[in-house]
Symmetry: C2
Subunit: 398 residues, 2 copies
């Protein structure tokens, strides 16, 4: 057996230790937060801040924690897709489109204005605007799924809007990045947009019937649990394809999940196996978000003030922009949709990293965006929980 790991492969043991600490911290904090009637996600992200470079310095983000986090959020969205039938999203398609567009335009303009008011350059202002656009639907899904309200009208609007939001956000990021590095290639931008739309339509429209027809044949193969493994493999394959085409990997995972939704409904074992994988991996996604935050940034009071403004505007613009899109559905639903699109999570962080990498934004701006990304992710879940509580009447009504 591998006793050598002890003597030799100390790096390997240290990685195992890091994973153990992340999982243990996440679950202890989740339990504490559940007891305080707060969402577990918030506890798990705070666990990341606690054990991360900011405070106890037990674990720091690495390629491995990032990879596990990414697989975690991919399977999370796949699981959410499994509970979402394509028809239920089509039913709210127009509404989701309006929510997405308003939820992209409003924060972008507000972020741009804020940065301009702070005396930023045009390109800085555009990057801050772009970082405000992204929605991290994984966080919202993680709050709504255990509440059993994923099939409510507003959940479906949020999920649909998140897919469109992604395609729009991608266009803006591509536009702003190319603006920062030279002349914009409009042809390539349009090609990507068309590809993204075609890919999404293809997976949803063709995927579901094909999976339904092929699933019984896959089950007849020799291997054990072959349908479950095929689903996971296909999920990874579609996620990778999505990423190469220019859609997010997690959008691919969500679409793949939708394609398997009908098949999975009749197979409880597959659901349980999938939940095993998801429950194991999602904590890495949440803890990793917390670990990104370095409280060192807060040494400079002006950064805190600026971060506060960015966060405030980030919350308000999604709330108002997306809420406007949900106009006419009643106040509670307007609030649900608006708040559901607030978390920026890992997405805002990645935009900030790109800006930093291109030397378009400096360390303080980067720090402020990071705070905004983590803060919006921490703020939304408690409100979501309140807004969706005793929401049974809303379930499955179109």
């Amino acid at each position: 057996m591998t006793y050598f790991l002890a003597a030799a492969n100390e790096g390997g043991t240290r990685v195992l230790l890091a994973l153990f600490l992340m999982l243990a911290a996440a679950k202890i904090m989740a339990e504490l937060f559940e007891r305080m009637r707060q969402p577990a996600v918030v506890g798990e992200i705070l666990a990341g801040i606690l054990i991360g470079p900011s405070l106890f310095r037990l674990v720091s983000p690495s390629e491995i924690t990032n990879t596990l986090a990414e697989i975690g959020v991919i399977f999370l969205l796949f699981t959410v897709g499994l509970e979402t039938k394509p028809a239920s999203i089509f039913g709210v398609g127009k509404r989701a489109l309006v929510v997405a567009i308003l939820g992209v335009v409003t924060p972008f303009l507000a972020g741009w204005l804020l940065m301009k008011a702070y005396g930023g350059t045009g390109i800085e202002a555009m990057f801050i605007g772009t970082a405000m656009v992204a929605t991290s639907v994984g966080i919202t899904a993680r709050v709504l799924s255990p509440m059993g309200v994923l099939n409510s009208l507003t959940s479906r609007i949020i999920l649909g809007a998140a897919v469109i939001d992604d395609i729009l956000g991608l266009m803006i990021l591509a536009f702003v990045s190319s603006l920062a590095s030279g002349p914009v290639n409009y042809l390539s931008l349009i090609t990507t947009a068309v590809l993204a739309v075609v890919f999404t339509a293809f997976v949803v429209l063709i995927g579901a019937p094909v999976v339904k027809r092929v699933a019984p044949r896959i089950e007849n193969l020799r291997g054990s649990q072959v349908l479950f493994i095929s689903a996971i493999t296909l999920c990874l394959g579609i996620s990778v394809t999505a990423a190469y085409i220019g859609v997010a990997a997690i959008v691919g995972a969500f679409l793949a999940g939708m394609a398997f939704a009908e098949v999975a409904e009749e197979r409880p074992t597959m659901h349980k196996q999938m939940s095993g994988v998801t429950e194991f991996l999602v904590p890495f996604f949440l803890v990793n978000i917390g670990m990104q935050l370095n409280l060192e940034t807060f040494r400079d009071i002006s950064v805190i003030v600026f971060a506060g403004w960015v966060t405030l505007i980030a919350v308000l613009t999604k709330l108002v922009g997306c809420g406007l899109g949900a106009w006419g559905l009643g106040w509670r639903r307007v609030g649900q949709v608006g708040m559901g699109m607030v978390p920026r999570g890992e997405v805002g962080i990645v935009v900030a990293q790109i800006g930093l990498g291109m030397a378009v934004i400096n360390d303080s701006l980067y720090g402020a965006v990071l705070v905004m990304a983590v803060a919006t992710t921490l703020i939304a879940p408690p409100f979501l929980r309140v807004l969706f509580t005793s929401e049974k009447g809303n379930k499955a009504t179109a």
Copy 2:
């Protein structure tokens, strides 16, 4: 959503692609091998050789694939432990001890003699001997588990012997490594041995009753699926502790599994969730073994011949040594025990890496050990399958 992965995080997308290729290749090869009535493990290891640096060069081993492989084999052994009640191993304790000792001494001496016959130095001979000692019980477990014979007399002897084999192997590796780098610290060797034995006894004897008493309380906690997550977390924690103490991480995982065996028996959902995680991760363990092999080594004919000798002796010495330990149980069982201890897998590879790292063995010796490690892992499963087929009468008889 994370559209940025596409534009920015190309490294992340490449990692996802690698994982997709590993999983897809493993499962296609597994299906082909099942159809040829060969063990799926062999197909999955060959998938690693196919997509690895030797042939198609689609994926090469990295820290990430190594980590996933390690988590995979840890959860594999944890799952095997879940199906193994402590009492069933104690019942075969003495027999397992004899099998382990003979199975360690025989290959070590034979490897040492072979290297000496080839004109090697004393330390080279000792390293080759040590590399022949290690058993990769994960491979055997992966063959036996789907056949439903994990509770047979011989399976229990193999599992018990593998734990003891590990502790003995660790001592030898520690001894040989310190011999190669200076005077041997006997005190530290003895301390490690005592710690290893105490740790093993503690987890098995104290762990099971404690888990049984605490499990209902854990289930009363707020979080969802909290017993499953606690089990996984504890598995990682005990594995890490084992590695730090000087026992293999996977031995820790196996012991942790045994501690949960009774609790898991009454909870089918936990079993299914665990199987989801294991089925997803084990292919990375198997494919990663195949990816370690670089067929470039075979350019030199003398390396092939030497590798052939090492492999032959590696197979024969475990077969004879461990088989002798099972003397008196009938020919079939002697063969089962002997063959069950043959695979060297990732363990032989790690020993070779240590030797190479200490500059105690050269590239050709390293290559030969690598071939031996992969070849023994490929040879054993088909024989195991034949030896254990129609083995129902052997099940659960002490």
